[in-house]
Symmetry: C2
Subunit: 115 residues, 2 copies
DNA sequence: AGTCAATACATTGCCTGTCGATATATAGAC
DNA sequence: GTCTATATATCGACAGGCAATGTATTGACT
């Protein structure tokens, strides 16, 4: 992570990875890049963070992987399973519930102009 | 925590506690209740979570505490320091940057109607 | 008087997630 | 030949959350 408190991201890293995979299969390194781009460099997932997440998601059958040896560089492609797509929907809804919840807790503090 | 993924809350618990203290001093148990109310029962901070947070904030000089022995029940009142109020402002801004950031990552997925 | 639930603060120990460090290996540029 | 970027993976240190546990007071109901 870069400009943001890393602690803040804990718990939504899975969601980020799942959502990046929503528009098609990608390999690990590409997921890192896409996330960095999409977040304006704010999210910079380290390898030591990303791969454990991918392995966890695969174990949970939310993503499935396939090695590609046909090109010179070996790449492991990950894609969402049906269960993964469903789960992604749940997670997005949960995230939005959470944002609403925190806005309520912050109360008037939340009314200052967002950056 | 109740209806929400507990992992999601990690990293914003400090923020919640600070923001509850924004409108005046409170003791631990009261903070728990206010947080439960303000979140429609979604956030239910356990004692084993709350007190370490309060102690951490106090150590960081963001809050200060005072025992009240005058009433029958001993209560430890916590209030924001000047540094705490300032920090709260930073944290709120950071939270909003984060929400914006995640909305960008989710892309079209974020467009589904919020709960 | 006795019991129970709510109030009130605190610590301990387990578990899990993050990430820096490290390892391995290929491709292309200089 | 060397350096950087690409590409995946694991290990170990560290920190945070929380169930469990402990102590003690208050008030209600019996």
């Amino acid at each position: 992570m870069d400009g943001l408190n890393p602690e803040l991201m804990r718990g939504s890293l899975d969601l980020m990875v799942l959502s990046v995979l929503a528009d098609g299969a990608k390999y690990g390194y590409l997921i890192q890049q896409r996330l960095r781009e999409a977040s304006d460099e704010l999210v910079d997932l380290k390898a030591g963070t990303l791969y454990p997440i991918l392995h966890k998601l695969e174990k949970a059958k939310l993503v499935r992987s396939r090695w590609d040896d046909t090109t010179g560089r070996k790449r492991k492609w990950y894609e969402l399973t049906a269960a993964g797509k469903k789960q992604l929907g749940h997670r997005v809804a949960e995230w939005q519930r959470y944002v609403t919840c925190l806005r309520q807790i912050l109360g008037p503090l939340a009314d200052v102009a967002p950056a």
